[in-house]
């Protein structure tokens, strides 16, 4: 296992903006982000790997011509994940699912986390906006900028996602009374 890497600098120099430097300094951060938007560690690893490959194919070994490489990588991961989600829903045949290590049912805290399970059931667009808003503490404007979409789209997706969670009977947010 690699050690927890240093954070990617907020104001990277051109030398810091290479894909290799990004992978070195921000893999853990990006892997966590991938885990939250995919809901699955293995998919997160695949997603990060594919995103870094895509970045390298696009930018090569030189500096990435972007001011915020981490945000750019997140955006790449987001779009790859959404594209993959669509593709898998129409063409991918899942033959089986395996865990890294077989574990007794319910032994993973994540399995017992109803809100986490409900989040994983949301459409990928809605789930991603909630992760950016409530994990990254990004403003809606920042989310729109990160994802390359309109502020109104972000608000719409967040509104729908929160409403769906409130309506999930397992979560107990749908009593209709004041909280």
């Amino acid at each position: 296992m690699t050690a927890v890497p240093a954070q990617f600098p907020d104001s990277p120099t051109p030398a810091d903006r290479t894909v290799a430097r990004l992978a070195e300094a921000s893999s853990l951060e990006l892997l966590r982000f991938g885990y939250l938007i995919t809901g699955d560690r293995h998919r997160a690893e695949d997603l990060l790997q594919d995103a870094l490959l895509a970045l390298h194919r696009r930018f090569g070994d030189g500096p990435m011509p972007v001011q915020k490489p981490v945000a750019y990588a997140r955006r790449t991961m987001t779009n790859l994940n959404i594209t993959r989600s669509r593709r898998s829903s129409s063409s991918e045949v899942v033959v089986d699912l395996f865990d890294d290590v077989p574990a007794p049912s319910g032994s993973d805290p994540a399995d017992r986390d109803l809100l986490w399970q409900a989040l994983r059931r949301l459409p990928v667009r809605q789930r991603t906006v909630l992760v950016l808003r409530y994990y990254d503490d990004a403003t809606d404007a920042d989310i729109a900028a990160d994802l390359g979409c309109r502020l109104g789209t972000v608000r719409s997706l967040a509104s729908r996602a929160l409403a769906a969670l409130r309506g999930d009977p397992e979560l107990g947010f749908s009593d209709g009374g004041a909280r």
Partner: protein, 375 residues
């Protein structure tokens, strides 16, 4: 007031992020970069170690195909309540119209835009200072998904008189738009506010004056749409001065004093709905009191939430989480929400009681001219 589900989400996401404590670099083996376990056919081995990644990437790039975003997604037809003047509703509401207030006068398109061949118009937006339209080039190899939706790659912004900072514009290359002298240059996105922001990088921009004191711009985000010929095609399709009527299924007889029209957005093709927003304070700020009227193109999840209520005489649901009210009409849902200081939310009852519905709110042809929808 903190929404409990938002608090719970923050806490849960941080806890779950903690599930990932390290990058599984132990699987790195440059001699065997793809030794996936048989039981994990979709789980490729992890080989991201900084010292080796570039070499590995160079090899793997030829093996692993990265598919581009979906490029030719079929889309539903327009579901919005906005009707250009050129397409008047067949049977507009015959109910008496109140006078048009100064704020409501802004709820009218002041430019027309027919998407050039090969482009698709995705959404439009009105604010007091500018109006926008987003388009995409249908066959654009560099377009990626926008929030998982259709990629917005070209932005048209038509500024109100005096709202555009033209400093430096005329220093750009001359780039006529039809018979009008325009300029081409690199301009930052977000010329007006966050709603026109599409990233951090300056974008190729065509700017021209459609009136002596008023400007319009076209900005593009992908190599294909940034071609001068493409920018010129879009710019030539913009016709400032044409007007279009917006239509809404509801008319509000009351809105809290001091709330001003802030924005109307209209998703033309993806079903995110139309959203009319009034605010007391800057749009988007946490402390701003905001009243929104959203018209969705599907029933949505609210119908099973909250308590029963009535909105303008129609049965609906009172949404304590969003603090608003929802009414499902036909295949659409109309949601009124108010956010901001708790005391201000007491106005919701008065707002919902003041709602007047179009004669047949399920039929957009009967909806109100939006300019009469605000007191």
């Amino acid at each position: 007031m903190t929404d409990p589900i938002e608090t719970a989400l923050r806490s849960m996401l941080r806890e779950r992020a903690g599930d990932v404590t390290e990058v599984p670099g132990a699987a790195l083996d440059l001699d065997q970069p793809h030794h996936a376990a048989p039981a994990q056919a979709s789980h490729r081995s992890w080989f991201l170690v900084a010292a080796s990644i570039v070499a590995v990437l160079a090899v793997a790039a030829g093996v692993v195909g990265i598919q581009r975003a979906t490029r030719h997604r079929s889309v539903a037809g327009p579901t919005n309540p906005v009707t250009p003047t050129s397409q008047p509703p067949t049977q507009p509401s015959t109910q008496a119209s109140p006078p048009i207030s100064a704020a409501a006068r802004q709820l009218q398109w002041s430019f027309d835009l027919t998407a050039p061949s090969g482009y698709q118009l995705l959404d439009r937006s009105i604010t007091p200072r500018f109006q926008t339209a987003s388009l995409r080039l249908l066959k654009d190899p560099d377009a990626t998904s926008c929030c998982g939706g259709l990629p917005h790659t070209v932005y048209v912004t038509v500024y109100s008189a005096g709202a555009f900072d033209s400093h430096g514009v005329t220093g750009g290359t001359r780039f006529d738009v039809g018979a009008v002298q325009g300029y081409f240059g690199s301009r930052p996105p977000g010329l007006a506010n966050a709603d026109t922001r599409v990233g951090d990088q300056p974008l190729p921009t065509v700017s021209w004056q459609y009136r002596p004191d008023a400007w319009a711009t076209v900005q593009a985000t992908t190599p294909a749409t940034q071609q001068p010929a493409q920018l010129r095609r879009v710019a030539a399709a913009v016709r400032p001065g044409a007007t279009g009527v917006l239509r809404t299924p509801v008319r509000l007889g009351y809105v809290p004093e001091s709330m001003k029209f802030a924005q109307l957005t209209d998703d033309l093709v993806e079903g995110s709905g139309a959203n009319l927003t009034l605010t007391r304070g800057p749009l988007g700020a946490v402390t701003t009191t905001q009243l929104s009227v959203q018209v969705w193109s599907d029933p949505g999840p609210h119908q099973d939430l909250g308590a029963a209520t009535t909105v303008g005489g129609r049965p609906g649901r009172l949404l304590t989480g969003d603090f608003g009210a929802s009414v499902v009409i036909g295949r659409r849902e109309v949601v009124l929400t108010i956010t901001g200081p708790l005391a201000f939310r007491a106005d919701l009852g008065r707002i919902t009681a003041s709602v007047q519905w179009a004669s047949n709110p399920a039929d957009p042809a009967t909806w109100f001219d939006a300019r009469t929808s605000l007191p």
